[in-house]
Amino acid sequence: MNTKFKFMKYRKIAGIISITLFIISVGFLFFRGLSLGLDFSGGTLIEVSYETPISLEEVRSSLESNGYADSQVVNFGTNLDVLIKVADQSGNSSVGEDIFNILSNQEIPIELKRVEFVGPQVGDELRDQGGLGMLIALFMILIYVAFRFQYKFALGAVTALGHDVVIILGLFSIFSWDFDLTVLAALLAVIGYSLNDTIVVSDRIRENFRTERVLEPIDMVDLSLNQTLGRTIVTSLTTLLVLFALFIFGGELIRGFSLALIIGVLIGTYSSIYVVANMLMSLTLTQEDLAVPEPEGADFDGMP
């Protein structure tokens, strides 16, 4: 690919868009929060499969008459599968059995697909652990990138990751999608993926800063982005191909997971161009920053 896009010409607009999206996401997260899945909220979830379709109203009323008034009843995938969620009842672990028995007494035969019970303290712990893990991951990556590249790149990379994660979380908050452990896993995978992209771009910027000594920094960044554009598009494409396969064929259980990843890949690709490069421009990356080639740096000759 021999493109000559002036990416950095639009860096101010991109910056404004990113900041706006970021602020909106933070706002939603702050005021509305995430609709936490069972893993984090605690409670009981039960999925049953009916032999013939049943109206959700019927399920609801039979649960209500048995003392489960505040349960959520939804279809899951097909109209034969029904998912029932009950908020935590002070750690009562037999709610699942109870509900299954109530539903078994209805006319239409049912089959139990799954029961999940998460006690309140486990939910809290998973949430704390998840948040902590995310922070540790970001911090370790910051150190690694600072060590391998330079602190300005590290700041750029971590800003990009934070940007991606917060906007994905924001979307989950805006659309009230369920945020559970698999989505958290997806977020960490997004960190990995987005970083992949960021490093490829940074690597090329570093290389060009060292070898091409004539261009202005802004042209240098544009050149690097254009050089890596082909790869960026192809990789995003192959990854999106498999993710759509997962989204469409992978079933209801990992739909949230694949959705988070699809959004993540799109935003990650965008951020590796506009957030990282933008940060480097704003931090005024100079040739002196990269002037001394590290011994283990640019060339790994002799490696296959």
Partner: protein
């Protein structure tokens, strides 16, 4: 243009490395190609008995009489495994056998991998399936450490009250509040003596046991367990409960149960294939129990005594009094040791209340015998005919009590005493185990439960496989069209990558979960990234260089980038592994393995193929 001498040729060693990795990877991936076979596993209900030839003959007879065709029957460990050709026969045979043998045996359904013996001998087994794929029950239980601690403190309070009384240390008040032992002494002298005593006794084997808070102005001393002591109490309680749970889980007859400690005070129980969580919960949550009772003597009225069998010997019986002195929940510890003459003995520790009751009961009864009863909740199955005329198994629960020890009381007993004359050291430790198993060291509660029905498990496998295949096909197609010969080289690497992931998963014994399958799909999408990087680099280099140099430089220049990118992704994956549980851990595992294998295949394997095709040849145009 520079002269080309031997560019892009791998040395024999490089090929050898690739070959060895491939061979080992494929070898361990091989067992996954063999289908699983519906099988059942039969074990004696009495865990002390192991399945033998006699049981096998009995099973053969029953199956032959009902004209059931089975493929193979053999003894493994202390169970008998029977393999069938289809699921229907498996299910019907289970019913036939259970109806014929009732409570004599525990029968479990499972899928036996048909891995040939020579593969198994080399440690090659198929990938284990996580609960979300195999169906089954997952429980997370939390051990209530506070209660265990409270029990210990009560014991301590009792001990100190006694020892202060003996040493004439006077105190006004003594109690336990919020896990702190409180003493208020009458005078300074007593206060100082007590403080010295505390300090002297505070040093345990592993370090300082107590944290002492001194309030000299009001003659008060506060005592708390130190962190070291707390850890010991916790480890003991969790370890004890683990043993108890393992025994109980064995009763369920699950083929591959997992009972493991998780974190400081939790225990994970995983029962693949179990479809009835309620029944499983009942058995796991039940309390086998112990009762200490006096042996009835000639003066005991017939109304106040009961006859019991000995656990070890069905024909020997003894009469015990009906009154229970102490029950198992008062036992805080039981261990084995040796008495003065070198015979095995069992040391028992009771909590404060238990000790007091024991003291009262034994004080007038030296010379009589004290019996220990093991109380078990059991189920009895009966073949009954229901209203439809079918014969079905009806289960009733009942309580069985057996004597595990009957020993002469030598002195007045308190919180700690010993039982001597318990036979060999092995028998003594068996008795200690029973005593401990009788009571949970600390109460437990269910904090997490996940049940996956068998149909959902099967559905998940199908969905996962389908997404892997479709995602894989799409990527392969794209790469072949876009990069031509190089694309095909990358595709071969991708296939090798999948084989290696499977091989490593099998070798590590890691469980495959649905998110794990998603991890593989994601790896497929991301693994080509390394090759895409290399190929686009080669394309760039081609603008200024000849094909051979472009290939060489493309590979070496892209390496740094690939390395950095993958290390950072690996960091994220490892953190996910550490914080994740169950299915998410599965995702982290496949992702981590996928990153490592894809680095190897994308760099080494693709290069090898490219070298084989183009290496050391005079090429003018490189189709890429």
């Amino acid at each position: 243009m520079p002269q080309l001498i031997k560019v892009n040729k791998f040395s024999i060693y490089q090929y050898l490395i690739i070959f060895i990795v491939l061979a080992v990877g494929s070898f361990y991936a091989l067992p996954n190609l063999y289908p699983t076979q519906p099988s059942i596993q039969v074990a004696y209900t009495d865990t002390a008995k192991s399945a033998d030839q006699a049981l096998m003959v009995e099973l053969e007879e029953i199956l032959d009489n009902s004209d059931t065709v089975y493929e193979d029957m053999f003894l493994r460990e202390n169970k008998i495994v029977i393999k069938f050709n289809d699921v229907d026969t498996q299910l019907s045979s289970k019913t036939v056998l259970q109806n014929a043998l009732l409570d004599k045996v525990i029968i479990a359904l499972f899928l036996e991998p048909s891995t040939p013996q020579w593969l198994k001998d080399m440690g090659a087994n198929p990938v284990k399936l996580g609960l979300d794929l195999s169906g089954g029950v997952h429980f997370l239980l939390e051990v209530d450490i506070d209660t265990a601690q409270q029990g210990r403190l009560e014991l301590l309070l009792d001990t100190y009250r006694k020892s202060f009384a003996e040493d004439r240390i006077k105190f006004n008040e003594s109690y336990i509040k919020d896990l702190v032992l409180f003493f208020e002494f009458s005078d300074k002298d007593s206060y100082n003596k007590a403080l010295k005593k505390y300090r002297d006794e505070s040093l345990g084997i592993s370090g300082v046991q107590y944290v002492i808070t001194e309030r000299p102005s009001s003659n008060q001393l506060l005592l708390e367990y130190s962190d070291i002591a707390l850890r010991e109490i916790r480890d003991y309680a969790v370890g004890q409960n683990l043993i108890t749970l393992r025994n109980r889980v064995n009763e369920l007859g699950v083929s591959e149960p997992v009972v493991q400690r998780q974190g400081a005070n939790r225990i994970v129980v995983q029962l693949p294939g179990v479809q009835d969580p309620t029944a499983a919960k009942k058995i796991i949550g039940k309390t086998a129990n112990l009762e200490f009772r006096m042996e009835a003597n000639a003066r005991t009225s017939p109304l106040r005594k009961e006859e019991f069998n000995f656990k070890e010997n069905d024909f020997q019986t003894a009469y015990l009094e009906k009154a229970v002195i102490v029950s198992g929940d008062r036992v805080t510890n039981a261990s084995t040791g040796f008495d003065e003459s070198g015979f095995a003995q069992v040391n028992i520790t009771l909590d404060m209340q238990g000790g007091r009751a024991m003291q009262k009961a034994t004080s007038g009864n030296i010379g009589r015998r004290l019996g220990v009863l093991f109380v078990e909740q059991k189920t009895k199955s009966e073949l009954v005919t229901n209203s439809l005329g079918e014969s079905v198994i009806e289960q009733t629960t009942y309580i069985e009590k057996n004597i595990i020890s009957l020993a002469t009381v030598q002195a007045v007993l308190g919180t700690s005493f010993r039982i001597t004359g318990v036979g060999t050291p092995a028998e003594a430790s068996e008795l200690a185990l029973l005593l401990r198993a009788g009571a949970l060291a600390a109460p437990m509660k269910f904090v997490e439960e996940r049940t996956v029905g068998p149909s959902l498990g099967k559905e998940n496998i199908e969905l996962g496989m389908k997404s892997i295949l479709i995602g894989f096909a799409l990527v392969v197609l794209f790469m072949a069209v876009y990069y031509k010969v190089f694309g095909i080289a990358a595709n071969i690497s991708l296939i090798i990558n999948l084989v290696l992931i499977t091989g490593i998963m099998s070798l590590l014994g890691a469980s495959l979960t649905l998110p794990g399958m998603a991890g593989i799909v994601l790896t497929v999408g991301m693994a080509v990234d390394a090759n895409v990087l290399i190929f686009s680099r080669i394309r760039e280099e081609l603008k200024e260089k000849d094909p051979q140099t472009a290939i060489r430089d493309g590979f070496s220049r892209a390496f740094v980038t690939i390395f950095d990118a993958n290390v950072t992704t690996l960091i994220a994956a490892l953190i996910l592994y550490i914080i994740g549980t169950g299915p998410v851990k599965g995702f982290a595992i496949t992702l981590s393995i996928g990153i490592v294998t894809s680095m190897f295949t994308a760099i080494m394997c693709t290069r090898a193929i490219v070298n084989l095709v183009y290496g050391n040849k005079n090429i003018k145009v490189l189709p890429i």
